[in-house]
Symmetry: C2
Subunit: 261 residues, 2 copies
């Protein structure tokens, strides 16, 4: 069994989100240098400054902990405790003035996420999920929706462009089975699912930093999250994620995926 | 030449947006009845209550003016001055707890939009565009970006599902020509374009209430907006819209569309 993070760790993680929020809000909607990475996705100086700052803070407080970040990769000698950081999730939103970008902070114990934060700097919303505890949204407990039939469920994904052709076909099969689908959410969709406002998020092509923080948030609100085959999301997962408001809905969604493959 | 709205009309239009904002924020993220229209899109009691309230307010102040709303259609005897209302643009966002829904208010004179408001109730942002005046965002003048090459431009659309197969193919050709594309914006993307944060919005399948308010906002910030053939958007347009940060970019985008057809 993974160790449960103690209160010191949770408060420290939340202070990391405070710092990241301050930096991203400093750059949001201001002229700033945006360059493109090798895969064509934008990276901003805010991304780089946040990751650098968080790495330094973790190194000072928990010098033994490993850190895995989107920009600098894996550092640290002991990776039993491992922080996984996405300074700005939704960089395209960030660079085009949309406040729906987030910051994702996960803490793994033996490669399994035991603490996750979704922070929305420009929207002043934060979800904190801790293994075996109720997820909090701005300090208040979160609860998923009771929607238990695909036909009544609302479905989200960030973009068409995250799916390969076969994944897109499966996503479209899911779309036909639900009430409606919408695009453009990034990590925010998972937070809204934890609050009970939406029912399904189905994504692919994710990096570790994109999905690990979501796991404790979704599970601590009563929801389910796994890969598209129902497997647990760990440091070594392949980048597909399915989040559902509750086990009944998750089972139906997994059956649909299995039958569509 | 269309008459330019006087200050009384502009202040009255802004007070309509105040009222709509109060009503939608009252229902946002609260349990509320959501039903489906014949085309499968959701409609909420907030939509209905806002349209009813705005129709009544217009009827009291300008009893001769016509009103065209998403929910109740066209009313009024003299349609020389015609209000076109979309109480909640982005109903799917609204019903799933995403604050990126808006309210669109347009005033037409002889079927041409001369005043437009994009209001974002949950984000506290409002754009007011008036023919021959500089567009204001929360009271401050707006200016579009200077991006003048497609390869440097960012492109937006609300969803894949607004395009027919041929339109989607053309949108994908545009996507290949730009820096990146993103989905999920609804009317907010046009506001962000007016502020200079993004460069292109290309959409289809729009209703009159979806595009008419955008015209004075975009043009008053220095941008261009037309149908996909470069034609002026009026009450009788077909529902395709292309908005660009400036004339140079608009010309390139229209050329690409023409060559892709």
């Amino acid at each position: 069994m993974p160790l449960v993070p103690d209160q010191d760790l949770v408060l420290f993680a939340s202070s990391l989100a405070d710092d990241a929020r301050r930096i991203s809000n400093k750059f949001f909607r201001q002229p700033h240098a945006v360059s493109s990475k090798s895969d064509g996705t934008p990276v901003t100086i805010a991304d780089l400054e946040i990751e650098q700052h968080l790495r330094k803070a973790i190194g000072q407080r928990y010098p033994d902990h490993g850190v895995y970040g989107e920009e600098e990769g894996l550092t640290g000698t002991d990776t039993r405790w491992l922080w996984v950081l996405d300074p700005i999730d939704g960089t395209k939103s960030f660079t085009t003035g949309k406040p729906t970008f987030g910051c994702l902070i996960a803490l793994l114990y033996q490669r399994k996420p035991v603490l996750g934060i979704i922070d929305m700097p420009a929207l002043d919303e934060r979800w904190i999920g801790v293994q075996d505890q109720t997820t909090l949204h701005n300090g208040y407990p979160c609860k998923v929706a009771e929607t238990n039939a695909l036909a009544d469920a609302t479905l989200n994904a960030t973009t068409v462009d995250m799916f390969d052709p076969q994944e897109w076909q499966i996503f479209c099969r899911m779309s036909e089975a639900v009430r409606f689908r919408q695009f453009g959410a990034d990590c925010y969709a998972y937070g809204l699912l934890a609050l009970g406002y939406t029912d399904l998020v189905m994504e692919a092509g994710l990096g570790r930093f994109d999905y690990l923080a979501l796991v404790p948030v979704i599970e601590g609100a009563g929801g389910c999250i796994s890969d598209w085959q129902g497997g647990t999301l760990t440091f070594d997962s392949a980048g597909q994620a399915l989040a559902s408001a509750n086990p009944a809905l998750h089972a139906q969604a997994l059956r649909l995926i299995a039958s569509a493959q």
